[in-house]
């Protein structure tokens, strides 16, 4: 009997802590880069030691390669990616008027491929789509993330923010439970980062491959034993919208290295 008030107090404290979950102040924002070892940072910085560059180079080749029934290459319309794609990835996801919802960079590349090149769509997480996304995003390396303030994106971004705060899975954890409230601490052997999507698609040592933000989000969902959203699901794009807004102003790092 005597234990119960304590239990209630504890519960109240836990709930208060959960309710207090606030955004990370701007001065405390850290890219996952800053939480890595100096060796991994060096690996990311040197373009000749960064295995993500293999995909960027592949993407550069694909950019020039004519494809589909239209027989045009990406370069046929967009020209020199160094100019035309500079800063583009830093502004995605963007609102697509025809679809009536936001679209991410990989989705846009795939859309361009089916509609303009009249080619087979590239499946999510395929090497070719990752390579093109990495190549396009690499053109924004070092530029600040600059989410568009298109009012049509607002409801989707708000839904992303809500998803970010919603506990999911058997472990009943929200993104914010780890990445806002416990960043910098350890989960198993790994440092919990703040979940800023600065370097996607990125080369994760655990994957021994380049992967997209959606793959990473799905990993976390599986980690908390929730059913992950499918690749390309609107919810994942809404989350990306929120994460990009949260990371506004931080420098793009594509292709980043992460443990």
């Amino acid at each position: 009997m005597r234990g119960r008030p304590w239990a209630l107090l504890l519960l109240a404290a836990v709930l208060a802590a959960a309710a207090a979950a606030a955004d990370i102040p701007e001065a405390d924002r850290r890219s996952g880069y800053e939480l890595m070892s100096p060796e991994l940072r060096a690996m990311q910085d040197d373009e000749l030691s960064n295995p993500g560059m293999f995909s960027v180079l592949d993407g550069e080749r694909l950019w020039q390669e004519p494809g589909g029934a239209a027989g045009t290459a990406c370069a046929g319309c967009h020209g020199d990616a160094e100019e035309s794609m500079r800063g583009v990835a830093a502004r995605y996801p963007a609102f697509d008027a025809a679809l009536g919802r936001p679209i991410d960079l990989a989705g846009r590349i795939s859309q361009c491929r089916t509609e303009r090149q009249e080619a087979e769509p590239l499946p999510r997480e395929s090497e070719a789509l990752l390579a093109l996304s990495a190549f396009v995003a690499h053109q924004s390396r070092g530029l600040p993330i600059d989410p568009p303030d298109d009012p049509r994106l607002q409801p989707f971004r708000a839904r992303g923010a809500e998803l970010y705060q919603t506990p999911i899975g058997q472990l009943d954890l929200a993104c914010a439970s780890c990445h806002d409230d416990n960043w910098g601490r350890r989960l198993g052997g790994s440092t919990i980062p703040q979940a800023h999507p600065t370097g996607y698609p990125l080369y994760r040592l655990e994957w021994q491959a380049l992967g997209s933000l959606q793959r990473r989000l799905r990993n976390c969902m599986i980690g908390v034993r929730a059913t992950p959203f499918d690749f390309g699901a609107p919810e994942l794009i809404e989350l990306e919208l929120h994460l990009m807004a949260r990371a506004a102003g931080m420098a793009m790092e594509t292709p980043a290295i992460r443990p």
Binding site: L48, S49, A209
Partner: protein, 105 residues
């Protein structure tokens, strides 16, 4: 074939130079399964060599425990201008190679 080679473009005679070589390769152990439980066939680079002016200056044996996209760094003494040749040999005998020039003054 995709490789990233880092050799200094120029060096002084007698200088110790660092050479870094990376190749895109899955280093697949053969123990993993892919979609629907189908085994992914083993694919391993087992030998790496670097030669300068036709003479082998560095070699390494690689094993399945090494990660994908193996990265090797080593040093040598710059003696004369010339070309480094890098060769990666798979267990099935296929080889891939790359070259890089150095100017020694």
């Amino acid at each position: 074939m995709r490789t990233l080679i880092n050799v200094p473009k120029t060096a002084n005679k007698g200088e110790i130079v660092e050479i870094r070589a990376m190749i895109a390769h899955p280093m697949e152990t053969g123990y993993r399964t892919g979609e629907n439980g189908v085994p992914i066939p083993r694919r391993i680079i087992h030998r790496f060599t670097c030669s300068f002016a036709g003479r082998e200056i560095f070699a390494a044996d690689l094993f399945p425990a090494m990660s994908a996209n193996p990265f090797l760094a080593f040093t040598t003494i710059a003696t004369q201008s010339g070309s480094f040749t890098f060769t990666w040999t798979d267990e099935d005998g296929t080889t891939q190679s790359a070259a890089a020039e150095i100017t020694v003054t």
